[in-house]
Symmetry: C2
DNA sequence: GTCTATAACGCGATAGAC
DNA sequence: GTCTATCGCGTTATAGAC
């Protein structure tokens, strides 16, 4: 039930999408912190101050991308494969999806999880979205372990946080060492099955 | 046997140390990418262009800190405790030292392992230092496993890289969630013993 | 009202003349 | 070491066009 838009409003929405799209391209190419309003404006055939009709500040552009990043991340997690499979399949799927999201959205990933922009602080609304998505991911993981009736020899929360740390660490190192290789290849990108193995070994012993 | 310095050279060296010291303070306080030459100059009672007497560019300041960061990191690793202890003690010591280095040198750590500065590319010399230190750390780890006569059920390199990923992931998450808590406390900062445990479980099964 | 432009401010890194 | 100057940045004020 999207609101009906006038011609003007529609053009405006398209321009906003173009701004965000160009911003993402520049962040991918030059790094998140290297984004400049001058570049966006020039590529749109505008002057820099005209951008302020669409966004109140550069931080607001970052903020919208930050927010959308977490929405997108939630969709990836909701739609990840092997959700009806074994625990092993599910854990591999979680870690692979996390790494692939980072790989294919390096700009958003940096913005969301690395905070490389000095002045940027997410708005309250965006922070709420981000915390909501992370909670949803946590809940998904809890259900998974409950369904399998796992008995861990460490508290559940600690096991979950080790999975997060391993996924995050492998992802960071994959992006640092082989940013162009797909998940599954490269020194760290190929280690997900082994990572899952050691987690399962530890839990099921 | 440091070269003998004239009075002038000595004063100059002291000024260079002051510049780097102030730079680190500002990076700690405001973020690595927020460092500004104007702030350094003002705190030294100088004008900004005068800094160019000591460093050819802002990047050269980053580069020197990057280089020193890896030298310092190597010293921490060389002097870490429990080097004559058990495998478990050694692994905990490696991960704890890595995390403590990051915690107590967050400015250098960001510069070394996160690259948050758009234009900054380490010089060849600094890159050589950094690669040398990382090789030394790897070699230390190899010797450790050889000494214990471990038989891993995965290739040695993969086991080593899982340790790196786990240490790096826990460190990143500790700094993101509880940057002010010491290593050993906080959601991720307290998980090193458990991380070592699952690695040992997997290897010795 | 909505979009665009120009002008200007303050700050950043940096180059050159003294 | 300084001062001066250039260039690019994000941002604001303001005025004109649709």
């Amino acid at each position: 039930m999207t609101k009906r838009l006038t011609r003007r409003e529609q053009v405006r929405e398209e321009t906003i999408e173009q701004i965000l799209s160009i911003a993402r391209e520049e962040m991918q190419a030059e790094g998140v912190a290297a984004l400049s309003l001058g570049t966006i404006a020039r590529r749109l055939g505008m002057r820099t101050p005209s951008l302020y009709t669409y966004f109140d500040s550069k931080n607001d552009i970052y903020d919208e991308l930050f927010r959308r990043g977490f929405v997108e991340f939630g969709q990836w997690m909701d739609e990840r494969p092997y959700q009806d499979g074994t625990l092993r399949e599910n854990m591999e799927s979680v870690m692979t999806t996390y790494m692939r999201f980072a790989q294919e959205n390096q700009d958003l990933y940096q913005l969301m999880f690395q905070r490389p922009v000095p002045g940027f602080v997410p708005s309250e609304e965006s922070m709420a979205v981000s915390l909501g998505q992370l909670d949803a991911a946590k809940a998904q993981f809890s259900q998974l372990l409950e369904r399998e009736d796992m008995t861990l020899n460490i508290p559940f929360e600690e096991g979950r946080d080790l999975v997060i740390a391993l996924a995050h660490g492998l992802t960071e190192l994959h992006l640092a060492n082989n940013p162009d290789l797909p998940v599954g290849q490269g020194r760290f990108g190929q280690l997900i099955p082994q990572a899952v193995q050691i987690l399962l070994d530890a839990w099921q012993k």
